[in-house]
């Protein structure tokens, strides 16, 4: 039950993009087209679901027993970069179809703050358990993908809309994101992932 609530909470109430502002640069940069937006969304789901449990294991079985918490940031970012590389090589070898659609987005993900941010919120701030981290990683990825796909669909409609010259491009995208964030406030209070932390 916990797991289901955390997945739902990560998508709706604690949306990684619309409530904690993680991964906004690709959200603005890649949301111009529906196809690339969904590709980026899938890549984030994939990497976040893998890196969160991996970093959880590293924190609880390596960093904490050795008492080297001050190294955590360096270790997390190296783990993320390493896992992204492994995922890329694995996909290229065994899933060439998926690789050709997601390949170009994978290197961008290392510097996507949604990944490191998700790790920091789940492991450092909320102190979730292992299965809860897996759930939060998957749900957070789905929530991010949902937001960028919604945004891409709206921006395709906006292509011929009369928008003031200065607001064209990133300006209007940010304002739409603001309106989306406002509508997501409607979900707030249903679930709070903070409550599941230890």
């Amino acid at each position: 039950m916990d797991i289901f609530l955390i997945v739902l909470g990560a998508i709706l109430t604690n949306n990684i993009l619309l409530t904690t502002f993680l991964g906004i640069c690709p959200f603005i940069g890649v949301s111009g087209e529906y196809a690339s937006a969904s590709g980026m969304g899938m890549a984030v789901i994939f990497v976040l679901t893998m890196t969160l449990p991996a970093n959880w294991l590293i924190k609880h079985f390596v960093l904490d027993p050795l008492g080297v918490g001050y190294l955590s940031l360096i270790v997390y970012i190296v783990t993320i970069a390493f896992l992204v590389q492994v995922v890329e090589m694995f996909m290229k070898r065994f899933l060439p179809a998926l690789y050709s659609s997601l390949g170009i987005f994978l290197p961008l993900i290392t510097v996507n703050c949604a990944i490191l941010g998700g790790v920091l919120f789940a492991i450092a701030t909320w102190n979730l358990g292992f299965m809860q981290s897996v759930a939060y990683g998957f749900g957070g990825g789905v929530g991010w993908a949902l937001a960028i796909i919604l945004m891409a669909a709206i921006r395709e409609r906006l292509r011929f809309a009369p928008i003031p010259e200065g607001l064209k491009g990133p300006g209007i995208a940010l304002i739409i994101a603001g309106l989306m964030a406002m509508s997501f406030v409607g979900f707030s209070g249903m679930i709070n992932i903070r409550d599941f932390g230890g």
Binding site: C25, G29, L73, T125, L167, G171, A177
Partner: protein
């Protein structure tokens, strides 16, 4: 004899003129005040370009997470900006100093580790000396690691320039970023709480709740980007990773 004297006189006059011009040049060089000479130097041009023309927030649309996550109050925005400034300058100087030692193939992982090191130092410093501020900023200080322009400055500038010039370049980006974040924090705190840097400005102010919640952050940044683009349409408007 007369001819020789005339020629001698001519030479003398020439020499005198030369001496006069050289002394004038020598005298005039320090006569230009520092404020006029400084804008001509390369470092100053880098500094100004980074603060205004390539402002990381409103021009390049970079580093959006801390821009929104840490600007619900003016003091938070300023602190986040200054923390980023310190991390950027330190990382750029380190990368520039080590630029001949880092092999090109592994430069990006090396830069990431250098940046992560300096961000860890800044984070530990804030936690030790300014605990309330550190608690207010939360994970946005560690997230400076994935701040696109810190890596961007290391890759685009510090990897090819001297440590001194790289420091100025990073300082410019950091100052531009601090300025933008403080500006956003001022607007959001003024409308959201009716106060400025914690001091109540409007008495009996009805708080605009939207300015404090995430939606307000998106709206204010979007409008700022629009205003900046409207009044100075030239230059690059980015929106990459």
């Amino acid at each position: 004899m007369l001819f020789v004297a005339k020629a001698g006189q001519k030479e003398l006059r020439q020499m005198a003129a030369e001496v006069k011009t050289t002394t004038m040049q020598q005298a005039s060089a320090p006569a230009i005040p520092l404020t006029q000479r400084l804008p001509q130097t390369k470092g100053w041009k880098e500094l100004v370009r980074d603060i205004w023309d390539d402002n990381p927030t409103f021009r390049m649309i970079l580093a959006m997470c801390p821009t929104m996550g840490a600007t619900n109050m003016a003091i938070n925005g300023m602190a986040q900006g200054l923390a980023t400034l310190v991390a950027t300058v330190a990382s750029s100087v380190t990368v520039a100093a080590l630029r001949t030692l880092i092999p090109a193939e592994v430069r990006l992982p090396a830069y990431m580790i250098i940046i992560a090191f300096w961000v860890t130092i800044v984070d530990i410093f804030l936690r030790a000396y300014l605990p309330p501020l550190s608690a207010a900023l939360g994970p946005y200080v560690p997230l400076i690691i994935t701040n696109c322009f810190v890596l961007g400055r290391a890759e685009a500038f510090a990897s090819q320039n001297s440590p001194g010039l790289s420091a100025l370049d990073a300082l410019g980006v950091g100052l531009g970023f601090t300025m933008s974040l403080t500006l956003l924090g001022i607007i959001r705190e003024l409308l959201g709480f009716g106060s400025l840097f914690g001091i109540q400005i409007f008495s009996g102010w009805t708080p605009w709740v939207i300015m404090i919640i995430p939606a307000g952050a998106f709206l204010v940044v979007g409008l700022y980007v629009g205003i900046v683009k409207h009044f100075s349409p030239g230059g690059q408007i980015g929106g990459g990773s």
